[in-house]
């Protein structure tokens, strides 16, 4: 029986250096000449917005992707990592955003089976002694005999880290390790890791969104934006990091497709009731923790209110409650001054339309045809059906074909299952359904251009602005700050399930937004605004 688990006592944080890594996915450059140096025993933070290339970078390091160009050095030696197993063999380990433990096995069983040399017959008494001796050398405590499924998120995260230590992986990549933890749990875990780096036992590279954790634990920072290193170093202030993260307005205006947007009609001077009003929305996530904590917002007809924010701050729950996928624990929605409950009939009566994120999952039936999906909102009404129950297949196909042409949905035929289309075409098909009705009173759109190429994104944004010009009240929820800034009349930032900031577009500057992005009051600039 080998002592793989025991060699941990040997000192040995690993140094890592990446030189000029580039990675393309089709025409999209996910990494552009990224260099990164993490000396042994350093706690290094990797910052960036969604889609900045952080995940691509660590996936290249771990061997999930092969970089098109560039080299990776471990302790000064060039290595080629072809798959995660090889990375493991070199001492590179990663804690993923999702847990990789097996839920029905106990903590001890998870540790033993993760070892490549697990014995055929396990002598649990000896194995226990060895694991406990190993645990004594680490600061982490987890119950060994409980099923992992019954552990708390914090305990599971500790166990993920313990597994890396147990497998002797002394360069640790942590992908947003605290997103599922309470602040106290996060501080405990990061504090222990920090101490271990200081003792020279491990090196840590942590992807995070939280400036507070960077300030408290990281020795050095690298900031990525649009696949490039835009800054980094030691002892940066929150404001400096935020500015690097969200970029300079001038530097991005050309690249974000502003030119493609249609002329915006002036907003009508707001008269009377707002078209959409959210009053104190509270909701819980799937685990029963608060996801929305009193979201209140008004959107006038002909106005786009854009909600920006770091993902996981309640955006998903907000869209889901608005379209009836998630129950409200309290609060009310009003459309045109009337109480709104998200039922099919109410959507129809109020003229409220929703384009949720991941439309294939949230707004389409993958196995049904494109035409069927396009007519979901009105298939039971004439002319698509007679007397409300007899569907006219021919009319449905014709309606589908007509909208497919108008919204440029590229599909072999209206009868193709929508699940067979590309992401952009599914998005266009759902937009065709939600934007083709007249009149649109309220439009709720979430991440409409996520994962789409430049041209499709520009076209879809133009359609959203067109709907606004036609008088719709638009609530845009997006993780792409540039998109929010380009489209919105009013910008809001959501943080920890609350609207942390709201201002007309003319008064918005990126620095302030960046601060509220990263947890509002935790930044340098005072209390959150209304």
């Amino acid at each position: 029986m080998s002592n793989e688990a025991l060699s941990f006592t040997s000192p040995g944080a690993i140094a890592l250096e990446a030189i000029g890594l580039s990675k393309r996915f089709g025409s999209f450059k996910a990494l552009d000449d990224v260099s990164l140096k993490v000396p042994a025993g350093e706690f290094h933070a990797l910052l960036g917005e969604n889609g900045a290339g952080k995940s691509t970078l660590v996936k290249c390091l771990m061997g999930f992707h092969r970089a098109d160009e560039g080299a990776v050095l471990l302790d000064g030696r060039e290595v080629s990592v072809r798959n995660p197993r090889e990375a493991q063999g070199l001492g590179l380990g990663m804690v993923y955003q999702h847990f990789t433990l097996v839920p029905s096995l106990t903590a001890a069983e998870n540790l033993v089976i993760a070892r490549r040399d697990a014995p055929a017959v396990i002598d649990w008494a000896a194995e226990r002694r060895r694991i406990e001796a190993f645990l004594d050398r680490t600061p982490f405590r987890v119950p060994l005999d409980r099923r992992v499924g019954a552990l708390s998120a914090g305990e599971r995260q500790k166990l993920e880290i313990l597994k890396l230590l147990y497998l002797d992986q002394r360069f640790m990549i942590l992908d947003e390790p605290t997103s599922v933890l309470t602040p106290a749990e996060a501080d405990e875990i990061l504090g222990h890791l920090k101490a271990m780096t200081e003792r020279g036992e491990i090196t840590v590279l942590m992807i995070t969104h939280k400036f507070r954790e960077v300030q408290a634990f990281a020795d050095a920072v690298t900031v990525l934006r649009r696949g490039r290193v835009v800054g980094g170093g030691r002892g940066l202030s929150t404001r400096e990091m935020a500015t690097m993260m969200v970029g300079e307005a001038a530097a991005t205006a050309g690249a974000s497709g502003k030119a493609a947007l249609p002329e915006r009609r002036a907003m009508p001077a707001s008269v009377g009731e707002p078209a959409l009003e959210l009053a104190g929305l509270f909701a819980e996530d799937d685990d029963g923790r608060p996801a929305l904590r009193g979201v209140s917002l008004k959107v006038a007809a002909g106005e786009i209110v854009g909600i920006a924010g770091v993902s996981g701050n309640g955006q998903g729950a907000l869209v889901e409650t608005c379209c009836g996928q998630r129950p409200l624990s309290s609060g009310q929605m009003f459309v045109n001054g009337r109480d709104f409950l998200p039922t099919r009939r109410a959507f129809d009566a109020a003229g409220l339309f929703v384009v949720p994120e991941e439309p294939l999952k949230n707004a389409a039936v993958a196995g049904m045809s494109v035409a069927d999906n396009i007519v979901f909102r009105r298939f039971e009404k004439p002319p698509l059906s007679r007397r409300g129950w007899w569907l006219d297949r021919r009319a449905i196909r014709a309606a589908g074909r007509e909208l497919m042409t108008r919204f440029r949905v590229a599909s072999p035929s209206p009868d193709t299952p929508i699940g067979a289309l590309s992401g952009g075409n599914v998005q266009r098909a759902v937009l065709a359904r939600e934007l083709s009705a007249e009149p649109i009173a309220v439009l709720i759109v979430a991440n409409p251009c996520f994962g789409l190429d430049f041209a499709s994104a520009a076209e879809i944004r133009a359609r959203i602005v067109a709907a606004r010009n036609a008088g719709a009240a638009v609530l845009l929820i997006s993780e792409d700050l540039d998109e929010v800034l380009d489209l919105s009349d009013t910008v809001a930032v959501i943080s920890h399930g609350q609207i942390a900031y709201k201002a007309p577009i003319a008064e918005v500057d990126r620095g302030t937004i960046g601060i509220h992005f990263a947890g509002g009051s935790e930044g340098e600039q005072g209390a959150p605004l209304g």
Binding site: R85, V102, P103, S104, L105, E109, I113, I122, W124, G149
Partner: protein, 306 residues
């Protein structure tokens, strides 16, 4: 009812439980192994019937009932391997294949087994555990099949394997999280193929018990759905081999209720009492199958879970 009457009924229940539970035990242990690896094999009913027929035929021709048992295990292994191999193909649903395998196994047994309905074959011996009693009638009831003891040992062995061996952990990882299993370098399909094949072998032995011990002959209505009930029993047992044993005994006792009462002269509701195990299946499925508590123990990869 007199005191001796009560004792007679209790002993008859115990004897019946041991006798009737054996096929339940083998099938449910087999299914437990298969489901732990992340697949459902509903075809074990067919495997049970085929095992019964093969065991009877081999015993008839060779004169050795134990050779019959081995042949039944082999036939069950092949049936399980066939299920496992078909389920490896993309876009194949294990439950649908299971139902097909159920019909296939039963049909094959009836087709091949026609000539064996009349003759009698050498039966498995029994261990007279009741000899210390001075009541011959009761002693006869406590004749225990060695296969029951094998099943008993198998339940504990399987439990031990799941906890204490790499193979057992690998089966559990595969059944709980195929992605994690692949990340550990485990060949998910291969593990499931073996788990299904071995599960089939166990069910085949259960069939051998039916035709070679109790009731001890081969005919078409031999199983009357016991294979299916055993599958349900695994859910009741929360996928734990030792609970499979308890559940099998419980089902066996329920099946023995009617005959036991009849033996002391109570015949009222005889047919109703004979239906007890079926009613029990329904109640158990309604009670434990839908509850979240049971689902929490279910292997995460089972297609009924997703």
């Amino acid at each position: 009812m007199t005191d001796t009457g009560v004792i007679t009924v209790l002993i008859a229940l115990l004897a019946g439980a041991i006798r009737v539970s054996t096929p339940f035990l083998f099938v449910s242990l087999g299914e437990c192994l298969t489901e732990k690896s992340g697949r459902v094999n509903l075809g074990l009913e067919g495997t049970l019937v085929l095992g019964a027929m093969v065991a009877f035929a081999i015993s008839y021709h060779s004169g050795s009932p134990w050779l019959g048992v081995a042949a039944a295990a082999g036939a069950g292994f092949l049936m399980g391997a066939l299920h496992g191999a078909i389920c490896r193909l993309p876009r194949v649903n294990d439950i649908a294949i299971g139902i097909a395998m159920m019909s296939f196994g039963t049909g094959l047994a009836l087709f091949l087994g026609k000539p064996y309905i009349q003759p009698s074959a050498p039966r498995l011996p029994s261990l007279p555990l009741g000899d210390w009693l001075d009541m011959p009638a009761l002693a006869q009831m406590l004749d225990v099949s060695p296969l029951f003891l094998v099943g008993l040992a198998l339940a504990f062995l399987l439990d031990w394997v799941f906890r204490n061996t790499r193979a057992g952990l690998i089966v559990r990882v595969t059944g709980d999280d195929a992605a994690a299993a692949r990340a550990l370098g485990i060949g998910v399909d291969r593990v499931r193929l073996f788990a299904t094949a071995l599960g089939g072998a166990s069910a085949g032995v259960g069939g051998a018990f039916l035709s070679l011990y109790y009731p001890g002959s081969w005919n078409e209505g031999l199983s009357s759905g016991q294979g299916l009930m055993a599958v349900a029993l695994v859910i009741f047992a929360r996928w734990q081999p030792r609970r499979c044993l308890l559940a099998s005994l419980f089902f066996g006792a329920a099946s023995a209720l009617g005959p036991a009462l009849q033996s002391v002269g109570i015949t009222a509701g005889y047919y109703f009492l004979n239906a007890a195990p079926y009613v029990l299946t329904l109640l158990i499925m309604a009670g434990s199958g839908s509850a979240r508590r049971a689902a929490q123990y279910a292997p995460g990869e089972l297609s009924i879970n997703r």
